[in-house]
């Protein structure tokens, strides 16, 4: 289908972009990479009157360390984030999740913040942001709001970004030096959104005790799903398959994924448990490799 006509704006500065957003409010949409928005417009699921292209605003494509956090700007594309050494070393879970997003041609255009603001419940990056307690910087013409990940994702394709606002950056805490990560998912076809998936980051002491654990499921609820009980099951315990299985049981105990023609509720809940175990075992296996390398 041909997308509905709109007026295209290409501001050169953030202030200009925020002024346009303030003027047109809910009738305006921000376009960064456009890899989620353009298909929605092509199917007329999204019909903005004004499109604000933020790709020419300088500074938005920066990746930097600031205040002990890794900051990724609104125009950082998936491919640029993936090949960035800072991301790989300070946010290994982000690095591990990126290759799972679409295909290379999509990652060459799509942006990290765009994926997050799109808030697809089956997408990887929102789960990563939720697991890592990322923080979002959302700006409007009057100032900024800092929003923690657990408040950012409101529902299906809905993030806490109001009319006249845009995400300008996302901040990830820097991972511990001994952090090990894993991203596990099952999808019908390669590159498709997942039926269910799990992201995990663990830090494990040399004696095998789990020091910290952060887990989130995606594709099983309207927003990324995290369980304090499952993480408590891990922390302080030894990194063993039995402990991982207990954590998976806790993680899926209250889970009630919606059924669709790709899978029933029971299947998706079962799958989520399997993926939790796989993600934990895979992350822990990398810890053993690290120890092996040190020995």
């Amino acid at each position: 289908m041909k997308m509905r006509a709109f007026e295209y704006h290409r501001p050169e500065t953030l202030a200009e972009a925020l002024a346009v957003l303030a003027e047109f409010g809910g009738d305006a949409k921000v376009i960064a990479g456009g890899q989620s928005l353009v298909p929605m417009m092509a199917m007329r699921l999204s019909t903005p009157d004004h499109l604000v292209d933020i790709s020419r605003i300088s500074g938005l494509d920066e990746i930097k360390l600031a205040d002990g956090r890794l900051t990724i700007g609104a125009m950082v594309r998936h491919a640029a984030a993936f090949s960035n050494d800072l991301v790989a070393t300070t946010a290994p879970l982000v690095h591990a999740a990126l290759p799972h997003i679409g295909h290379r041609a999509i990652r060459n255009r799509g942006t990290v913040c765009g994926s997050l603001a799109h808030a697809d419940p089956a997408a990887e990056l929102p789960a990563v942001a939720r697991a890592l307690d990322a923080e979002f910087v959302v700006a409007n013409a009057h100032g900024i709001r800092l929003i923690p990940a657990h408040e950012f994702f409101l529902g299906y394709l809905t993030a806490d970004v109001g009319d006249g606002e845009m995400v300008t950056e996302v901040r990830f805490p820097i991972a511990a030096a001994n952090a090990v990560v894993s991203v596990q998912e099952v999808s019908r076809r390669h590159g498709d959104f997942a039926l269910a998936g799990c992201v995990a980051q663990l830090s494990i002491a040399p004696n095998g005790t789990i020091e910290t654990a952060a887990l989130a499921l995606f594709g099983v609820d309207a927003t990324p799903y995290r369980s304090a009980a499952a993480e408590a099951e891990l922390v302080g315990n030894m990194s063993t398959s039995e402990v991982f299985a207990n954590a998976a049981t806790k993680m899926t105990a209250d889970l009630n994924p919606a059924a669709d023609n790709h899978g029933s509720t029971a299947y998706r809940r079962h799958l989520a448990g399997v993926l939790v175990r796989r993600a934990l075992a895979d992350a822990a296996s990398k810890f053993s490799l690290t120890i092996g390398a040190l020995a």
Binding site: M1, F6, V38, A42, H103, R104, N108, R109
Partner: protein, 172 residues
């Protein structure tokens, strides 16, 4: 909302164009309708099939998912850039040799995806090639012949690069 017209400067296959296009035109539409470069095919028009893949500023992209307006000032390569002086590009030759074209609707997308990948890493493993090309759909060949053609193309390009670097070393 009436249609908004935009002035757009675009370099396509080395030729610079200044165009006046509707803001809602995708890059694929600009190429096909405004520049009559109909080698770029539109399949699904929402980013699933990969038929419309072109190279924008050195990186593969789906031209149905990019607005022409977003490409103002960019360099775009399309399938029309491959053959030169009546000679097929080695990727095209390898695909023909391995029967990688059947109805050929998907071929421009495959060719440009392979071109971008081989420019980036001509020594990619067979498994990687297979994985990378999973974003391009074909509804007739069953993929085996396309993958065989792609592997042969990577082989030719890798060998050519090695020969060129030997030549350069000799001449240095």
């Amino acid at each position: 909302m009436t249609a908004q017209m935009l002035s757009l400067s675009l370099t396509v296959n080395g030729l610079e164009h200044v165009l006046n296009v509707e803001s809602r035109r995708t890059l694929a539409e600009v190429l096909r309708e405004d520049l009559q470069l109909t080698g770029t095919h539109l399949g699904c028009e929402h980013g699933v099939c990969g038929a419309c893949t072109v190279i924008i500023d050195g990186a593969a992209a789906r031209s149905c998912l990019v607005l022409g307006a977003q490409c103002d000032g960019s360099h775009v390569e399309t399938v029309e850039s491959l053959a030169a002086d009546g000679e097929l590009h080695p990727i095209q030759r390898a695909m023909i040799d391995h029967h990688g074209f059947q109805c050929a609707f998907c071929s421009p997308g495959f060719l440009m995806s392979i071109k971008a990948l081989a420019d980036d890493d001509p020594d990619m493993s067979k498994e990687q090639i297979r994985e990378e090309l999973s974003g391009n759909l074909c509804r007739c060949t069953g993929y085996a012949s396309i993958l065989a053609g792609a592997e042969a193309a990577f082989d030719v390009i890798s060998k050519r690069n090695k020969l060129n670097s030997i030549e350069e070393t000799k001449n240095a």
